[in-house]
Amino acid sequence: MDEPVDPSKSFIIFGRDISQIPCFRNSFLYGISGGIGVGVLTFLGTSRAHLSTHVGFGSFFCGTIIYWMGCRYQWSAKRFEQQQLREAMRRQALYEGTQVERDLDLKSA
């Protein structure tokens, strides 16, 4: 989660480095590329420019939002697990060698 920032990848808008926002970059990459891809395929299949533009934009919109929702949920769940693990390790270090640890070991055994 707390990886060092690569200055070449930072993209600052209004004082905020948006490359550091989880899932932001991938959402737009997949959304834009998916939109362009579906739009081009639609045009190749139908030869209708307006329809292809609408389909491409719709794919971009839906793709970006759907990927963002899924990615953010998974990121949030993983972050919660990491926090639980960190807390468990802290408690283990706190109680190591004490009666509390022995009681807990007895309970789990």
Binding site: F14, F24, S27, T64, I65
Partner: protein, 229 residues
């Protein structure tokens, strides 16, 4: 802290503020996508050649543009309500701080520790050190321990004030005759600045708040020093 031309939220110093920033990012992306969609629809009007003078309704499209926004709002409301209830969770604070707003300074009381009390005035610009922060530095900072739950009770002695620290996601009104309570948790050491957030007279802009977050043992030493003095 805030610097000139700051538009966004400050970096968080509290888990709740972190969650507020995550929710802000989520809501803002949805808003950006809606804005892009509306911009695209408006742009495509330039290329529209359809005319129907007798258009009255379109049931399918009306269903779509009712149900789709409702679904989008659901995806905003669910994390919003989760965060709303998270902000109101009860926990066991280890330190209680009382903050009283006056015209135009704050006074603080640490009643847990033999009644430590002090006033906190803004340092005037003509008395500020060269490395001081104009309109933000105070003579006596609020010292609080990091990684501890802190309860704050805010009130006021004269008119309504508001005690704010953006980096912690805290804003509590201080109303005369009323005690407002909130909890927060500082997860890193440092100085966190805020300013009075309710219009309270001529010097409303000149009664800032500074929290100095220190490790617990430093806080205990500070308490001992202030109890003795």
């Amino acid at each position: 802290m805030s610097t000139w031309a700051n538009l966004g939220l400050q970096d968080s110093a509290s888990p709740l503020m972190e969650q507020l920033i995550f929710f802000h990012d989520h809501a803002l992306l949805i808003l950006i996508m809606i804005t892009v969609l509306v911009g695209y629809l408006m742009f495509m009007l330039f290329f529209n050649s359809y005319i129907n003078r007798f258009l009255l309704h379109g049931q399918l499209i009306e269903m779509i543009w009712t149900i789709l926004p409702a679904i989008i709002l659901l995806f905003i409301a669910m994390p919003s309500l989760r965060l709303l209830y998270l902000l109101d969770e009860i926990n066991e604070p280890s330190v209680t701080l009382k903050s009283i707003g006056h015209q135009w300074y704050w006074s603080y009381e640490y009643s847990d520790f033999n009644d430590i009390e002090f006033d906190s005035y803004m340092i005037p610009t003509n008395e500020l050190a060269n490395d001081g922060f104009r309109l933000l530095d105070v003579d006596n900072r609020v010292v609080l321990p990091m990684n501890s739950q802190i309860r704050i009770l805010v009130t006021a002695a004269d008119v309504i004030h508001s005690w704010t620290i953006p980096a912690l996601g805290v804003k509590v009104d201080g109303t005369p005759g009323r005690l407002n309570q909130t909890n927060f948790f500082i997860n890193r050491p440092g100085l966190f600045y805020g300013q009075c957030s309710e219009i309270c007279g001529a010097n409303h802009s000149f009664m800032p708040i500074v929290i100095e977050s220190v490790p617990v043992n430093s806080f205990i030493k500070w308490i001992s020093k202030n109890v003795n003095s």
